[in-house]
Every structure is written in structure tokens, then in C-alpha cells.
């Protein structure tokens, strides 16, 4: 570690203790939190930090949660995206930001805006195809506009009682139930592939020098095959989207403990980022945590 890194690393740690994302935020009124605490509403929290060791933030996130009520109202909907960029000369942060925006734009236009269309007209594509196409469009934008840049991207489109998850790279989607924390995405990393084949143990993978080598990401060529799966929303449970800056340093049990220990997903997110920085904060950290009520 160089002298400068030591200085800045240290400074950064100090910063994290006051504000996890380096931005001053007003604390929520405890009464508000208690009133809403893991109640019968869908709740969301987001948090992000550059981490201790990095100078730049190459992660990006997007969060939109909607609900309506009244006669013939549309069910709850949400769109959440996490991306972790890579590539030199700032191309990583451009790639992740561009991709998140591109995916949000596509999926907000169709299907989300169509929810409110009384004529119910939409292009008629299945949701999984819309999600797949959104990621492929983001890929095309990055290939065209950010040569040398790339990004992971994990998105969850929540509609009614189902959530459709689109994914490339090694950011993750977790489903947290009171019983377990389950990863529902597949890391597209060489090391994970070797783990899946039984060629490496989880422990070996965690310290493998090539654990950051991805075999699939946005921005790496014209044809992108996207993983898309639909899961029922976890009743009385959480959906967590995060970059490897979180899951790579904070164990799943700790993530699980923090999520269930907080009064509100926002408090839990802040705590998750704090835990990642306390564990060394080797990378940018991003977390989006959504709570779904029991009914």
C-alpha cells in the first residue's frame, strides 16, 4: 500500500462512519420508521459507497417503487437495478450509469407505463422478453458508446406477486426469508463456473486470484445472452440486489442478520454498507433492499 493510498484509504474510512454514501442525508424520523416498520406495505432502501480502497465509484443503481389503491387499482410494481462497471479511463462508471439508465427507460416505458393505460395496449411481448431486450439494448449502447467499458447488471421487475429478474455478471439478487438467504442469480465468473463444476471449493474461490474474471458482461460484443427468471415475491421477506463489494466481503449470515435486525430497509441498507466498509471496503458497494409484506 502506498503512502497516498494509506492516507486516502484512512480518510475514506472515517467518512464512511458518518455517511455510508458520502452524501449527507437527513435521518428518518424514528416515529415514521416505527409506523412503517416491516408493516403491511412494500418498503425499499438503497445505499451506495465508493468503499475504502477505491478512488472512483463505478457502481450505479436505480430504484422505483409504486403502489396505488382504489377500485380497479393496479397491483404494486417496482423496478430495481444494480450495475457494477469495469474498464479504465472512467469507462466503467460511464458503462454502468448508461446501462442502468437504458434499462430503466425501456422497462418504465413498457411494461410499467402501460399499466396505467386504460386501453391496455402494449406491444404484447412477454415480460421476460422485455427484460431480456432491455439488457440487450443496454449492451448495444455500451458497445457503441463506451469502447473498452463493461458492466454487470442485475435488475428486478416487480409486478403483482411475481418478480422477473434479468442478470449478467457477478452482481447478485438474493431472496431473504426468515429462514434463509438464497442467491437466485448465477455469478458469471470463471471462478464460480469452476465451483459449479466442483473444481474449486467456495473457500478457494473466495481468495482465487482470478475471482474477478467474468465470462459474461454488458459491453462485451454484439450478442449477449441474458439470464432471465421469474420468482414469486417473498411474502414477509426481502429482495436484495447488490454488487460484489457487498457480497464479496460480508458473509450471507451477516447480510441476513442485518436485514432482519433493522426497522426499515433503508436502515438495513446503510448498515450493510457500513459492514462492508468495516470489513475493509475493497470495492465499491451498492445495495438495494426491498421488503414485501406477509399478504
Amino acid at each position: 500500500m502506498t503512502f497516498l493510498q494509506r492516507i486516502f484509504g484512512k480518510a475514506s474510512t472515517d467518512l464512511e462512519q458518518t455517511s455510508p454514501d458520502g452524501i449527507e442525508t437527513a435521518p428518518l424520523d424514528p416515529a415514521t420508521i416505527d409506523g412503517a416498520a416491516l408493516s403491511n406495505h412494500t418498503l425499499v432502501g438503497t445505499s451506495q459507497s465508493t468503499g475504502v480502497e477505491r478512488a472512483h465509484n463505478e457502481d450505479a443503481l436505480f430504484s422505483l417503487l409504486g403502489s396505488s389503491s382504489g377500485e380497479d387499482s393496479v397491483p404494486d410494481f417496482g423496478l430495481f437495478v444494480v450495475a457494477d462497471g469495469m474498464g479504465g479511463h472512467r469507462s466503467g462508471e460511464v458503462a454502468s450509469a448508461l446501462s442502468v439508465r437504458s434499462v430503466a427507460h425501456r422497462l418504465a416505458a413498457d411494461p410499467l407505463l402501460h399499466l396505467f393505460d386504460l386501453n391496455g395496449s402494449s406491444e404484447g411481448l412477454p415480460l421476460q422478453d422485455l427484460v431480456r431486450r432491455a439488457l440487450q439494448d443496454a449492451n448495444q449502447s455500451v458497445v457503441n458508446k463506451v469502447p473498452g467499458g463493461g458492466t454487470t447488471l442485475t435488475t428486478a421487475l416487480v409486478l403483482g406477486k411475481q418478480m422477473t429478474i434479468g442478470h449478467v455478471g457477478d452482481s447478485r439478487a438474493y431472496i431473504l426469508t426468515p429462514r434463509e438467504a438464497k442467491v437466485v442469480t448465477r455469478d458469471h465468473s470463471l471462478v464460480n463456473r469452476l465451483v459449479e463444476l466442483g473444481q474449486l471449493t467456495e473457500a478457494e474461490a473466495a481468495v482465487h486470484p482470478q475471482r474477478n474474471v467474468l465470462y459474461k458482461a454488458i459491453g462485451q460484443g454484439a450478442n449477449l445472452e441474458v439470464d432471465v427468471e421469474t420468482h414469486p415475491i417473498p411474502k414477509n421477506g426481502f429482495l436484495l440486489l447488490c454488487s460484489d463489494g457487498l457480497w464479496g466481503v460480508v458473509p450471507d449470515e451477516e447480510i441476513q442478520r442485518i436485514a432482519w435486525g433493522a426497522d426499515h430497509p433503508q436502515a438495513a441498507c446503510d448498515e450493510l454498507i457500513r459492514a462492508a466498509n468495516a470489513a475493509g471496503g475493497p470495492d465499491n458497494i451498492t445495495a438495494v433492499l426491498v421488503y414485501f409484506p406477509p399478504t
Partner: protein, 628 residues
């Protein structure tokens, strides 16, 4: 810092920086460069003329490798390694290995002079063709490759592991024989490049990433190469080590199962599960060639008899017409409708006749029961309630059209669709109508009832969700043909097939379409679910297993004719009939056939499993009971 493996084929840009030789240059006052022949990585290959043969034109290949090392010690070491490798290559003698004539180092470049092969490498061949390469051609190459790899692996004093078997390193010469080129000598000139190589490769075995090189590793790479040649799916564009996820025959049906099995063995993750030697793989390939008739075998024409039934029939019962309906089995009695208009009650153990009830039309549905009464619908437009014990009539309900939908019993009511374009909800005890709902077309789909909602398809191509008061919750109108298939619901998602060749997955609360799986023909088969997969039949003759969350095919099994009936699951087996006349039992996880039972006519109904026995009807007029 995250890194991404390099994209495919853009490596040549680097060579632009290398000092490529111009035609006309003479090396060592002996090799006249004629043209650049190829370039890749840190090396270039030139076609050159050997001037020591002034009276004839002797063409040679000159491979130039640039030594980029700036550190003098490193530079020196690379040159020494090069010379050692070149010496080794010069000792090899095999028809598939190009001969080495000379080598030398000049300034920052080292050169290898070797036999010029006038031909085409397999990667180029794949690029220039559109169709699958013929199996016999690929097997012939594979046998030749095993032969040369065996030669290398048995080399003394030390075995030579090729480490880089892939289509671009295999040439087909003017005599259509294979030649193994690029003995990895160029790798000496790429110190510290290992990291970037990983992942782009696609052909290398998993253990090579731990630095292990052994003969089974070359067998894996050969298997990967053959997989690529037969499927045209480039492994560098797929997740690493994912060959088992795209079985050869699922992409190219023309490949024999024997060849697929041989290649799969070579592609085992664990080196111990592969062929231990190239010779072993060669023997396997030769027997494949004999089995499939590529090589003439003295054993041909053996074992070509009629397919015999591989499962025991317990009993069969003959009716007077085709049995297209599906059985209900309850309390040791099989209830099944027939096109002779009768509903039969048969003893499930012996097949003995107990009673029959005559309707006035064919019965294509499955009866339902609450224990006391059996409800059966007929194409005579009526639904009958009969005593389960004696078959006496309790009541009759009249609809306005033939009925092909099966009755569903739920909370004191029977739900059933009819060709009069109505969903009928009937009081179970007295047969009076509770309510009716008119929709856009005939209803032949059997409704599914969950959480006080009724879901069913319609021949108009619509799919409906009503609540118990008969109020429409939503309608799905994006199918383009009728929906005869009956829906199932799993974890809040609905699955059903349509005559528009698709299987649909909808979110159940509001009817949003989650995914659509396209098949080869219309389907009226009703899907079933187990272990995260949806199973269904299709008129394209296939039984499909589809991932329920992602809508991707896991496997399919091809029968000889349309599959219009629906599959049934029991333990880890799928039972499904086909219009080809057979009842099939498949391994649920792999889709492999466990047994097949041939009847005398098409099977269009759905089997029922009870007490380890399977019951079904056939258009040969019979009802069968088999051991599962």
C-alpha cells in the same frame, strides 16, 4: 478490479504493430518470403521459398515469433526455450505433424521453418459452410486426431501434451487428411499472459486452469472440438465447461447417440471419467463407426426386429369403439369414457367389468367424483351424475353444445366448460345451475380453481380469470389460436398451451405474460409440473421439459407421431401417450426413455397412475393397466 475475458477474434489488431516482413525479403540468405499466410497473437506465418532448391520451387512455411521481453535475461531465456521446443518438434515423426526443417533467431525474432501445408483449418471450414458437417467426416477426422495424439502421448523420453486442440489448430490438407499445427511454441513468447488466455479458450479442460496438463486434458479438448464441429456452437461464445447444457443431439439430431456418448465421455469434468488414453477414445470411435455403418461392419443387419413391449401388461379391457377419454381411478375402480358412448366402471385389479352407463355421444373427457357420485360429460351436450357404486343416474345437466371439457368438483359445485361458449357452474347435489358465464368461443379446456378464482382457456384464443361470483378479473388475449389445453398454477404462475404452437406462462393475479415457449406445432396437451419444470406434449410429436421460471427447454423426447394427450408424473417418471400408438415412460430428469408400450391405435388421452399401476385407453378400443 474486474476484468472481462477478451472478445473473440479481434486479436489480429496487435499484430499490426509487429514488424511484419514484406514479400521479397530473404531470411538467412535462404528463405524468400512470398506472402503473409496468417497472423495471430504474437506470431505471423509466411509462405516462403527455400532457395537451396534452385531447380524446383520448394515452398515452406516460416513462422515468426517476436520476442517482446525487454529484460535481457528474460529475452535470453525465451530464446533458449524456443530452441528447446524446436529441437523437440524436430524429433517428431508422424504423418499428421508438419515436419520441421530449420530454426533460427535473428535480432528480436525467432523463426521456425516447416512444411507448408496447402489446406484449410477447421475453423475456416466451419466459417465457410452453413450446414452441419457430416458425421462420417467428423468421425474420420476424430480417429486420425486420436491417432496423432496417441503418438504424442507415447513419445519418449517424455510424453508430449498438445494442450491446445481446437479447430483452428487442425488443418485438412490436399489429401483430406488432418494435420495438427501450432505446437504452442508461440506461447513461450507470451510470458505472463495466462490470465487473459483463461476464459477465451472454450476448449481447454477445467484442470488446465490449475496448471495440470495430461493426456485426458487433450481428450477433453478433442471432445470440445468435435462438439463444436457437430453443433456449430462455438464454445468460446458459451459459458466455460457448459457442453452438457447443450447436448449434441438436441442441436443436430442427425448425430448418432453412440457418437454423442463417446464425445460426452471425453468431455467429463473429472479427468478420471474420460478416456484414459487417446487409444481408448480411438477404439470407441471405431466401434461408433461400425455401429452406425460409417465403417462397414460384419455385424450389420443384426438386431433389427420389431420393437417388443418392455413392460408387463396386467390386464386390458375391450370396448366397442375408440377410447379417447382419460380414466378416473377411485376406491379400486377405474372409470373411463369411450366413443361407444359408454362410461365404464372396471375393477382396477383385474379389469373385470362392473357396470356401464350409456350416454348419447362420445366421451372425450375425464370423469370426476366426490366419492359418492361420478360426474361425466359427453358430446351429447349433457353432464351426468351417476352413483359410483352402481352407475345409476342421479341427475342430468343440459348445456347448449357438446362437452369436451372435464368436470371439476369444488366446494359443492361442478365447474365445466362446453361448446356453447359457456362456463357452467352446477350445484353438485341437485344438478341445478348456480351460474353461467358466456365467453367468446367454445370451452374445451378444463378449468382450474384456486383461491376463489376460476381459470380456463377458450377456443376463441382468449384465456379467462373469473371470481366465484362470476365477475371477470382479467382476460388474456395475446394467444393467436384456440386454447384447448387446461391450465395449471404453480407459485402464482399459470401455464397452458395454445394451438398457436406456444406454451404460455402468466402471472395469475393480473394475467401478465411472463414468458412464451415456442414449439414446433399446435398443442392441446395440458402441462404438468414437478421439480421446477413444466412438462407438456405437442403435435410436433415431442414431449417437452421446460424450466418453469425461465421458459427454457431442458430436454425433449421425440415420439413417432403427434402428442395430443397430456403427461402424468409418478415418482421420477413421466408417462405420456402418443398418436404413434405407444405409451412412453421417460426419466423425468433426463428425458431418457425407460420403456415403451405399443398398443394397436393412437393414444390421445391422459394416463392415470394409482397403486403403482398406470391406466389409459387407446384408439384400438382397449383400456390398459400396466405396471409402472
Amino acid at each position: 478490479m474486474k476484468r472481462i475475458t477478451r472478445a473473440l477474434s479481434d486479436i489480429t489488431t496487435e499484430t499490426a504493430q509487429l514488424g511484419q516482413l514484406e514479400p521479397g525479403v530473404t531470411l538467412q540468405e535462404r528463405y524468400l518470403v512470398l506472402a503473409l499466410h496468417g497472423a495471430g497473437g504474437m506470431s505471423s506465418v509466411y509462405r516462403a521459398r527455400d532457395l537451396h532448391f534452385p531447380n524446383v520451387t520448394k515452398t515452406v512455411a516460416v513462422k515468426e515469433m517476436i520476442n517482446m521481453a525487454t529484460d535481457p535475461a528474460m529475452h535470453e531465456m525465451i530464446v533458449r526455450n524456443f530452441e528447446r521446443e524446436a529441437d523437440l518438434l524436430a524429433t517428431l515423426s508422424h504423418p499428421a505433424i508438419p515436419r520441421i526443417f530449420d530454426y533460427f533467431t535473428h535480432e528480436s525474432s525467432s523463426y521456425l521453418v516447416m512444411e507448408f501445408i496447402d489446406g484449410k483449418d477447421l475453423e475456416a471450414l466451419l466459417r465457410e459452410t452453413d450446414d452441419f458437417l457430416p458425421e462420417n467426416q467428423v468421425v474420420k477426422w476424430a480417429i486420425e486426431l486420436c491417432d496423432v495424439l496417441n503418438y504424442l502421448h507415447l513419445h519418449k523420453p517424455q510424453p508430449v501434451i498438445f494442450r491446445d486442440v481446437k479447430p483452428s489448430n487442425i488443418m485438412i490438407d490436399g489429401h483430406s487428411s488432418i494435420r495438427l499445427i501450432d505446437f504452442g511454441i508461440a506461447r513461450i513468447f507470451q510470458p505472463g499472459q495466462k490470465g487473459t488466455m483463461i476464459g477465451t479458450d472454450g476448449y481447454a479442460p477445467p484442470e488446465q486452469y490449475r496448471g495440470e496438463a495430461s493426456p485426458p486434458g487433450d481428450m477433453y479438448a478433442l471432445g470440445a472440438t468435435l462438439h463444436h464441429l457437430l453443433t456449430r456452437r462455438d464454445p468460446r461464445a458459451e459459458p466455460p465447461f457448459s457442453f452438457s447444457e447443450r447436448p449434441i443431439r438436441s442441436i443436430n439430431e442427425k448425430v448418432s447417440p453412440e457418437l454423442e456418448a463417446t464425445i460426452n465421455a471425453a468431455l467429463s469434468y473429472d479427468p478420471a471419467d474420460r478416456f484414459p488414453t487417446a487409444e481408448a477414445m480411438r477404439s470407441s470411435l471405431i466401434s461408433v463407426a461400425k455401429e452406425t455403418g460409417i465403417l462397414v461392419s460384419p455385424r450389420t443387419a443384426a438386431s433389427a426386429g420389431q420393437p417388443s413391449n418392455e413392460v408387463q401388461e396386467i390386464w386390458s379391457f375391450e370396448c366397442e369403439d375408440e377410447v379417447r377419454g382419460s380414466p378416473l381411478v377411485m376406491d379400486g375402480v377405474v372409470y373411463i369414457g369411450c366413443y361407444d358412448n359408454n362410461l365404464y366402471a372396471l375393477d382396477a385389479k383385474t379389469g373385470e367389468f362392473i357396470w356401464k352407463f350409456a350416454t348419447e355421444g362420445g366421451i372425450a373427457s375425464r370423469p370426476a367424483s366426490d366419492g359418492e357420485l361420478v360426474y361425466v360429460s359427453s358430446e351429447d351436450t349433457r353432464m351426468y351424475a351417476l352413483s359410483a357404486q352402481r352407475g345409476t343416474l342421479a341427475w342430468t345437466y343440459y348445456t347448449g353444445g357438446p362437452i369436451r371439457s372435464s368436470p371439476v368438483v369444488f366446494e359443492g359445485h361442478i365447474f365445466i366448460g362446453a361448446d356453447d361458449a359457456r362456463l357452467h357452474v352446477v350445484n353438485m347435489f341437485n344438478g341445478s345451475a348456480a351460474w353461467k358465464q358466456e365467453v367468446a368461443g367454445p370451452i374445451r379446456s378444463t378449468p382450474t380453481i384456486i383461491d376463489e378464482r376460476v381459470y380456463f382457456g377458450c377456443e376463441s384464443s382468449d384465456f379467462y380469470c373469473y371470481d366465484f361470483r362470476g365477475e371477470l378479473k382479467w382476460r388474456f388475449g395475446k394467444a393467436r389460436r384456440g386454447i384447448t389445453s387446461s391450465p395449471i398454477m404453480v407459485e402464482g404462475m399459470l401455464f397452458f398451451g395454445s394451438m398457436d404452437w406456444s406454451l404460455y406462462a402468466l402471472e395469475a393475479e393480473a394475467g401478465w405474460q411472463i414468458w412464451k415457449f415456442r414449439m414446433g406445432r399446435p398443442t392441446i396437451s395440458s402441462p404438468v409440473f414437478a421439480e421446477g419444470r413444466i412438462y407438456t406434449g405437442c403435435a410436433d410429436g415431442r414431449i417437452y421439459a421446460i424450466d418453469s421460471r425461465g421458459g427454457r427447454e431442458i430436454w425433449h423426447f421425440q415420439t413417432e407421431h403427434q402428442v395430443t394427450g397430456s403427461p402424468t408424473i409418478f415418482e421420477d417418471s413421466i408417462f405420456c401417450g402418443s398418436v404413434d400408438g405407444s405409451m412412453y415412460c421417460l426419466d423425468m430428469r433426463s428425458g431418457r426413455k425407460r420403456w415403451q408400450f405399443q398398443t394397436g391405435g393412437p393414444i390421445t388421452g391422459t394416463p392415470t397412475v394409482s397403486d403403482n399401476r398406470i391406466y389409459f385407453g387407446s384408439n384400438d378400443h382397449r383400456v390398459y393397466a400396466l405396471l409402472t
